[in-house]
């Protein structure tokens, strides 16, 4: 078990190196001078330009820049933004919003997604099943910004049940609606996945054995079938934990939440290499850790693939 964790963490190193380098290179090859970009149309004195280029290592070749950046990373220094703010501080400050939003959405996916899936699976072929299948198809087919604006308009503006925008109301008030919007796609997917897996497992031989033992329906479903059915769902939910953090850009924009997604968007426009790479690195780390957690949870759910 311990060895498995260490091995998986070691696997994460090349993944982190590759992603950071890729992002760094992408920002590097963006056209235009980032310092000039900061000043807009106004001319920048050549001496200032040269000084800033020197300070941010902008004249070094890509590999040298990247190596210097990596060196800083290992000492806990994520670099500084062009405004002189440490990138680490920016991440820390923005991160809370995104984590709250992501976890709220994830919570909805786990609870509502699985509950709807189980409900549909147990009512296979009846109206509840058809309703859930139909509704989830619509949610999956409609882009998130439409779901977002629609929810904002109806539930926020018209009905006034939730704050329309901004994070001032704090958790949970300001996060419930954006969380639902962010979760919508995954929630629908989890419901369908749970339903399909449950329906399949209910046909399994071991379920018939459980019935032959005279167990109640509840015990057969919860005690015997559900755990087997959740194995594919857990895989999806694990990957989803990472994607929700990284994929919140649109939702954060619609609901004007000052999260990491907004920050990345701004930083890309400003061509702030260190900020973009710093945030990306953090996101990749979350991804890797979430996947590791899933693999460990997998072993708990399914003893056949326990890592001992």
């Amino acid at each position: 078990m311990g060895r498995f964790v260490v091995r998986r963490l070691l696997h994460a190193i090349p993944v982190l190196l590759a992603t950071t380098f890729l992002i760094y290179a992408l920002v590097f090859v963006l056209p235009g001078d980032p310092i000039q970009g900061l000043a807009g149309d106004r001319p920048v004195p050549p001496s200032v330009l040269a000084e800033l280029h020197r300070r941010y290592h902008l004249d070094d070749p890509l590999v040298v820049q990247y190596a210097k950046y990596l060196g800083g990373l290992f000492t806990g220094d994520f670099g500084t933004t062009f405004r002189g703010q440490p990138v680490g501080d920016v991440i820390a400050q923005r991160w809370q919003v995104t984590v709250r939003l992501g976890l709220t959405a994830w919570f909805f996916e786990v609870v509502l997604g699985i509950a709807l899936g189980v409900w549909a699976g147990l009512r296979k072929g009846r109206w509840a099943d058809h309703l859930i299948l139909g509704a989830t198809t619509v949610v999956i087919a409609v882009p998130v910004y439409i779901v977002g604006y629609l929810a904002q308009l109806v539930l926020g503006v018209r009905l006034g049940w939730f704050p329309v925008s901004g994070g001032e109301a704090g958790w949970p008030a300001a996060y419930v609606l954006p969380g639902l919007v962010l979760a919508s796609f995954g929630l629908a997917y989890v419901a369908r996945l749970t339903r399909a897996s449950l329906v399949e497992n209910l046909r399994a031989d071991y379920v018939r054995t459980a019935d032959a033992k005279g167990l109640s329906r509840l015990r057969v479903v919860i005690g015997h079938t559900l755990r087997n059915s959740l194995i594919p769902v857990v895989t999806f939910l694990g990957v989803e934990l990472g994607s929700l953090m990284a994929g919140a850009i649109v939702t954060e924009y619609i609901f004007n939440l000052p999260g990491i997604g907004q920050q990345v968007f701004q930083s890309i426009q400003l061509r702030e290499g260190p900020t973009v790479v710093g945030i990306t690195t953090a996101l990749v780390l979350v991804f890797v850790l979430a996947n590791l957690a899933v693999d460990l949870l997998y072993g708990l759910l399914d003893p056949r693939i326990r890592h001992d």
Partner: protein, 348 residues
């Protein structure tokens, strides 16, 4: 064997009182391609302490009949259209779902064919055996686990106390089937239905499992209904044999008499298609043709298209199940020409 008068056969064992009576059972499946009649008037009686083998090819309706007794048929598509399943005279088919559930596992238990898929892969065997005590007997977790260890000992799983927390995939095929048997015997049921309990196993392991089943049956005095397609498997353990074809009984007899002189051409065909130690050097003859399409059963005797002795009458008129030989033999056969079949030592 020459057609000499057969050696005297042992008297059939005195059976206990009727335990499980299946009477005129009809089961059909509504499918898009028509109604499949899987069981068509099946009847048998299982006595306490008796082993009754239900013998037939796949598709003869033997497993469907067993699931009907258990109340485990998926309805729809399955439907029990007629008949009764009486346990101590009480018709199980008239019970509510909740009442029937209380009978399952406690009074009638079942051993399934493939223990690997029939056991839950994510629960320990101790949990799966102990669950019966927790649900039906209200025992606590620890007591139930102790009872599970006892049962695993009883079905001769080595080091039961150490293996009780293992998962099904950590056992060999034979040991897994022992776990299934332990589960079936847990609450001392009156009837155990074993549906092809050894089909998924190696031949040597098959023999061990059959011996174990027979021994446990002797110890506990339960009625054992053994469902199989394999005459060889039942030879050593069955007291009585009921042969099924197309959802009907074609012959029933005590085991030694059936092996010595089958009274139905189908039984005879089955016997000639398996190697027998008591008749070495004999050529094996398979039963020609394939099992009937249950959605379109042949007219008359369902076996007539495959029967070497069939005549015109067989296609028109369905033979009734009638007594054969002396009344004390309690044998019957459903063939218009039973007398001819038996007169030739089972050769038409």
């Amino acid at each position: 064997m020459p057609a000499a008068p057969p050696p005297p056969l042992p008297e059939p064992p005195r059976p206990g009182p009727p335990l499980l009576e299946v009477d005129d059972l009809h089961v059909e499946f509504r499918t898009p391609r028509g109604t499949v009649r899987a069981v068509n008037g099946l009847g048998y009686t299982l006595h306490a302490g008796q082993t009754l083998a239900l013998l037939g090819e796949s598709g003869s309706g033997k497993s469907v009949a067993a699931l009907a007794v258990m109340g485990l048929l998926p309805t729809p598509p399955a439907r029990i259209t007629r008949g009764a399943v009486r346990l101590h005279g009480r018709d199980l088919l008239r019970l509510s779902d909740a009442e029937h559930r209380k009978v399952r596992g406690t009074r009638i238990a079942m051993v399934f064919q493939d223990a690997l898929s029939a056991l839950n892969p994510v629960l320990t065997v101790g949990h799966q055996i102990g669950e019966l005590f927790r649900v039906h007997r209200g025992l606590g977790r620890r007591q139930a686990r102790a009872r599970a260890v006892e049962l695993m000992d009883r079905v001769r799983i080595p080091a039961a106390a150490r293996r009780v927390d293992d998962y099904p995939h950590q056992f060999s095929g034979g040991m897994r089937q022992r776990v299934m048997i332990a589960m079936a015997l847990a609450l001392d049921p009156e009837v155990v239905i074993a549906d092809e309990p050894t089909t998924a196993l190696d031949v040597t392991v098959q023999a061990q499992i059959m011996r174990l089943l027979a021994e446990l049956q002797q110890e506990t005095g339960t009625g054992l209904l053994l469902i199989t397609h394999d005459l060889g498997v039942v030879a050593s353990v069955a007291d009585r044999i009921t042969v099924m074809y197309a959802g009907r009984v074609v012959e029933e007899s005590d085991a030694p008499r059936l092996y010595a002189a089958p009274a139905h051409p189908y039984t005879r065909g089955l016997l000639e298609s398996v190697p027998r130690l008591d008749r070495p050097g004999r050529r094996l003859v398979p039963v020609p043709g394939s099992p009937p399409d249950l959605a379109h059963l042949p007219t008359g005797c369902a076996f007539h298209p495959r029967c070497a002795a069939a005549r015109a009458r067989c296609a028109d008129e369905r033979p009734a199940l009638l007594p054969v030989g002396a009344a004390a033999e309690e044998r019957s056969s459903a063939c218009h020409f039973t007398d001819e079949v038996t007169a030739r030592g089972g050769r038409p």
